[in-house]
């Protein structure tokens, strides 16, 4: 996906040759690793028990919880390109709680909690995922997705503020 070469640069609107581009170039290694982690979290080669469409839809929720329209659109586009079923596409709807699907309900509950208020998470929240049938490996995959997207959104938020500096 050539258009996703650097999601943060595209979203922040870092103009080549600008003062901000020059500063960010000083940390080009970090920005490249950030993009590689994005791809590893959203479109991994081995996706385990979380499909690419589910990952994109959950990331879309995280963007909404962070009130970040640009990331919402980015993850929506990723979701569309994954060709989601209508059930999976619904995950991106912030008012949808998973309905009668126990696994989906647990995924959504956990993502919303950890995106918005990680301080409130306890052992019980991990047990709820296990009781809903998630393997420990999938729990770690889910956790990395929420954690990484929360990071990426903040890097972009900070860079948008830097763009405003003289």
């Amino acid at each position: 996906m050539a258009e996703n070469n650097d999601v943060i640069a595209a979203i922040v609107g870092i103009e080549p040759g600008s003062a901000l581009a020059e500063v960010v170039a000083g940390r080009a290694d970090i920005m490249a690793l950030t993009q590689q982690t994005h791809d590893g979290a959203l479109t991994p080669v081995a996706s385990g028990g979380l499909t690419h469409a589910e990952r994109a839809a959950l990331a879309c929720r995280i963007a909404k919880i962070n009130d970040d329209k640009d990331f919402e659109e980015h993850f929506e586009a990723l979701l569309d390109s994954a060709g989601p079923s209508s059930d999976t596409a619904r995950i991106a709807d912030i008012w949808f709680d998973g309905g009668s699907d126990i696994r989906l309900k647990a995924l959504i509950r956990h993502v919303d909690l950890v995106a918005h208020a990680p301080k409130d998470a306890t052992r019980r929240d991990i047990e709820l995922l296990q009781e809903a049938g998630l393997t420990d490996a999938d729990i770690v995959r889910l956790s990395e997705l929420v954690a990484f997207v929360s990071y990426q959104i903040r890097v972009a938020a900070g860079l948008r503020l830097m763009r405003g500096l003289a």
């Binding site: 970090i30 962070n66 301080k119 729990i139 900070g158 405003g164």
Partner: protein, 191 residues
């Protein structure tokens, strides 16, 4: 008796995962590569063994983490630790706060700043430059981020260069990531 730590401290607790760490005997070649396991290096923390369940993020996460916290130039290592501590306070990650607060104390050879932050949070009476760094980190760590143009201007007014501001954004954001793993996948235990 071991017990779960709920208050901020600079005494580094032990981290106990809620999920099973990867069993090295069952690790794939990609997992061993990401863990940098060699015959002479088989010591890996439970935390990293937990993260090894998701090898496609761990592979990039380790060098990214080291770069953000330790690469040359830009913001001082001690001030990057304040970015980490600010996020860890918002997200109440007792373990991350302990590790990075004690690292700040070692680097700065001073314990008063962390003592003030642990006692009074963002109201801590610390020197203006550190105060601007802490405030920005705390605000960026909220969900949604609460940092605005005036917080950015406060960093400039406190004397931070653009390269330093970028490093602060990266270290604060990085702990929005780390806290969401450490605090949700396990708990800090006092010996």
């Amino acid at each position: 008796m071991s017990k779960v730590v709920h208050e901020f401290t600079t005494a580094i607790p032990e981290w106990k995962p809620y999920v099973k760490p990867l069993d090295l005997a069952e690790a794939s070649a990609a997992q061993l590569e990401a863990l940098k396991i060699t015959p002479s290096n088989t010591k890996v923390s439970d935390y990293v063994l937990v993260l090894a369940h998701d090898v496609e993020t761990l592979t990039h996460r380790s060098p990214l983490f080291n770069g953000v916290m330790y690469n040359k130039g830009g913001l001082s290592r001690a001030e990057r630790e304040i970015g980490a501590v600010g996020a860890s306070i918002v997200n109440r990650c007792i373990y991350c706060a302990a590790v990075h607060a004690s690292r700040y104390n070692q680097l700065a050879k001073d314990e008063t700043v962390i003592a003030a932050i642990f006692a009074d949070g963002v109201d801590a009476e610390i020197e203006p430059r550190l105060k601007a760094i802490l405030d920005f980190s705390v605000k960026l760590s909220k969900c949604p981020s609460d940092a605005d143009a005036s917080d950015m201007q406060a960093l400039v007014d406190a004397g931070l260069g653009k390269d330093e501001i970028l490093d602060l954004i990266l270290s604060s954001s990085l702990f929005g990531w780390a806290n969401r793993l450490m605090h949700t996948l396990g708990e800090p235990i006092a010996e």
